[in-house]
Amino acid sequence: MKFVISALSACTLVAIATAAQAEVAVIVNAGASAAPTQSDVANIFLGKDKSLKGVDQKDWNPTKDKFYSGVTSKNESQLKSYWSGLVFTGKGQPLPSVADDAAVVAKVGAEADAIGYVDKAAVTDKVKVLFTLP
């Protein structure tokens, strides 16, 4: 029993470690012709560039943290403050968001002009990886 528990916790630890090290992939629809650069992606997810539809993740998670800090140099409270500035000046609305990696992949896989970010492990052949964040 004791062995099972420790094995379980080891597995959990491994899982956590993997999650922490996981690469974040920025994805578009497999048939998409647009190939935005990292700064284009920053503009899309900050609501300044409307050429593609950004699909956000609902809750703040390690993937979201890595994406926003890597691409837009903003942490959670800075991002909240940024969007408050736009919402309360009537200049923009936060991007629509979905629950998790699988939902992002499903949405980006289904919509030709959608763009999202997910854990690299969640990528399927319905989507194309633009670049990854280590």
């Binding site: 650069t37 900050l46 300044k48 140099s73």
Partner: protein
């Protein structure tokens, strides 16, 4: 209240389009500040600030405010936005319709709006009441007490262009704001701003911060006169500031940078009113801060220059992010004025100003000499958005 909650819930549940709301969609957002502030080191009852609510008793009505904003998509590109606030004006709480406008997202980059809008005078003008969007509890008074009108009726156009290293946004606005209040010499007076024209450009870079350049002008009408007692114990009416369609011009240059650890916010402003026998009013502030986890420590130097003298201040602040949408803030601000008897943002009653004028006109035979002021302002509060 229940209705409000249902609305909020519905707004959260509604799936939303990116920039304009889809037809039939709505959003409710709110913001607020609960704060108290105190002025020490001055005479009993001496007050300070835009509406003179900072004095030697701990008061909540200089900083506290509550606001709500409702947005509704009439079509996929046309929307209606209404924002209401409750905030104190002088000594009374007042409900304000800050804005109510129709917006049209004409193209991906161009948005046109008409109705009651916030006047884009300063760098933080459009979120003046949303303390959450700036680091202080009190925006630097030296700059932010100069133009008191916060909204106007008219139209604006905003054009945003994405760039390889960031984005640039242009805004032009025009309209008028009539029958507004202006706080002067411890009283509220009527003021009209006509033929308002404003234009600004904001260049946001991904790595090097944001620069904003703004210009606003308006024809101003106001008649600020007061009843005072003369040295002979009679009553007389004196003009303090009378403007008859004189053009006021306001320029603001701002720079903000925030890399997650270090941040800075700076703004320089200049105000000129044509033919008012006074030079320009120039002011600026320089702010630097550093984040330590959920804490933010910041320091600000601010300066205000007018013909009569100069006000300078140092502000030291410590903020704590309780959650990503709630910030507890504390601030200590030391203010000094210098010059030939200059009140700066300290409030002088009309009678005092008159007594000072009498003193200098009679070479000290009557009246009271003007003097400089100094004080220590402590503020503590909470900013939140939802």
């Amino acid at each position: 209240m229940t209705q409000l909650r249902v609305l909020t819930l519905a707004a959260c549940l509604a799936s939303t389009s990116a920039f304009a709301l889809d037809q039939g969609e709505y959003r409710f957002n709110g913001f607020g500040t609960a704060g108290i502030t105190h002025l020490g080191g001055e005479d009993d009852g001496r007050s300070y600030g835009v509406n003179g609510q900072t004095n030697d008793s701990w008061r909540g009505d200089q900083l506290s405010k509550l606001g709500g904003q409702f947005q509704y998509g009439l079509t996929d590109t046309v929307g209606v936005t209404v924002q209401a606030t409750a905030k104190p004006e002088q000594d009374n709480w007042k409900a304000n319709l800050e804005w109510a406008y129709l917006s049209w997202q004409a193209t991906d980059g161009l948005m046109l709006r008409t109705g009651r809008l916030r006047s884009p005078v300063y760098m933080y003008s459009e979120t003046l009441d949303v303390g959450f969007t700036y680091p202080w509890l009190r925006l630097p008074d030296e700059v932010y007490s100069q133009v008191q009108v916060s909204n106007y009726e008219g139209a604006d156009a905003i054009y945003t262009l994405p760039l390889s290293f960031g984005s640039v946004a242009f805004q032009v606005a025009g309209g008028q704001a009539v029958n507004r209040n202006i706080f002067a010499a411890d009283e509220l007076y009527d003021i009209d701003y006509k033929k308002i024209f404003a234009a600004n450009v904001s260049l946001a870079t991904n790595d090097f911060g944001t620069v904003r350049l703004g210009y606003t002008e308006a024809d101003i009408n106001t008649d600020i006169t007061a009843r005072v007692t003369t040295p002979f114990d009679t009553q007389t009416t004196i003009p303090l500031n009378q403007l008859d369609d004189q053009k006021g011009k306001f320029t603001s240059i701002g720079y903000q940078y925030d890399n997650g650890t270090w941040l800075t916010a700076n703004e320089w402003t200049s105000r000129v009113i044509e033919a008012d026998d006074q030079g320009s009013t120039d002011a600026f502030y320089l702010m630097g801060g550093r984040r330590f986890g959920d804490f933010l420590a910041h320091v600000t130097y601010a300066q205000l220059d007018e013909d009569d003298g100069r006000q300078t201040s140092w502000t030291y602040g410590l903020n704590y992010n309780v959650t990503p949408t709630v910030i507890v803030k504390s601030e200590y601000k030391r203010v000094d004025t210098s010059g030939n008897g200059y009140n700066g943002v300290f409030v002088e009653k009309a009678q005092e100003s008159y007594n000072h004028a009498v003193y200098s006109a009679t070479n000290g035979l009557a009246g009271t000499p003007s003097r400089n002021y100094d004080g220590d302002i402590i503020s503590v509060g909470v900013d939140f958005v939802f």
